[in-house]
Amino acid sequence: MDKTLEPTAKQETAPAEGVERTRNHKLYLPRVDILETKEAIRLTAEMPGVDTEHVTVSLEKDVLTIDGRVEWPEPSSHELLYSEFEVGDYHRAFSLSESIDQARIEATVRNGVLELVLPKAEAAKPRQISIKAG
């Protein structure tokens, strides 16, 4: 996995190598929380300005990629007076060490936050092995 983001300003990222962007927006790393339980890995990612239709989640060869496309209502008849952050799309990739049951992945977007539940595949779950007396 890549390094943890510092809780400061938004951090810009670059598209994958060999990929060129067609949108004139900057690309940022979404801030994430990742929790793991026995059953699943839960990931929440902050993507303000992104709605349900503009999120893409893909899992390929243990690499989880999340993309969010900002649909942004920039005030058009106004002049920008002051700016402390910029608005842009989101992209981040993680390599997963656990195998995931792809068919049961759940993704929801609410208030600009993506919530992902990645259930572990049966084979990856810890198993209780009962030991019998000989």
């Binding site: 993507m47 303000p48 649909e71 952050f85 600009g112």
Partner: protein, 144 residues
């Protein structure tokens, strides 16, 4: 053809930069009051109103508070506890979960009664109409 005439003007870019620097030092930009921090903002404006934009991912409308006194706007964010996940190992915790407040000094007074605030997909947009008494007025100049 006027194409050749509309050449790139390097001075226009310099003027824009100069304007931004001037705003920085003349206090026309909304300087944060009190301790620094709080949510980063963008501020737009025209003759009629100011528009403030800030990112509030994951916050419900009731977790956001706004108050205006004169030309000072106070923005408060108070995220709820969120749902607790039992027996979980934390791999990453990058999202901020603390309550923050921030007071901004606006370039002019606003009509407190007509302020509109809307939160959509984790973006908060506040429209602050310029106070009637504070609007620039055109004065007719008569020949003597």
């Amino acid at each position: 053809m006027a194409i050749g005439y509309q050449a790139w003007d390097p001075f226009a870019e310099l003027d824009r930069l100069q304007g931004e620097i001037n705003r920085m030092f003349t206090g026309a930009s909304p300087a944060p009051v009190g301790r620094a921090g709080g949510p980063p903002v963008r501020l737009y404006g025209n003759d009629q109103e100011l528009v403030l934009l800030t990112e509030v991912p994951g916050l419900a409308p009731e977790e956001i508070s706004l108050a205006v006194v004169g030309n000072r706007l106070t923005l408060g964010l108070k995220p709820g506890a969120g749902e607790a996940v039992k027996d979980a190992t934390v791999h990453r915790r990058e999202r901020a979960r603390r309550a923050v407040t921030r007071t901004l000094e606006l370039p002019h007074r606003v009509e407190a009664d007509r302020i509109q605030a809307q939160v959509k997909n984790g973006m908060l947009m506040v429209r602050l109409p310029r106070a009637e008494a504070d609007r620039p007025r055109q004065i007719d100049v008569k020949a003597g």
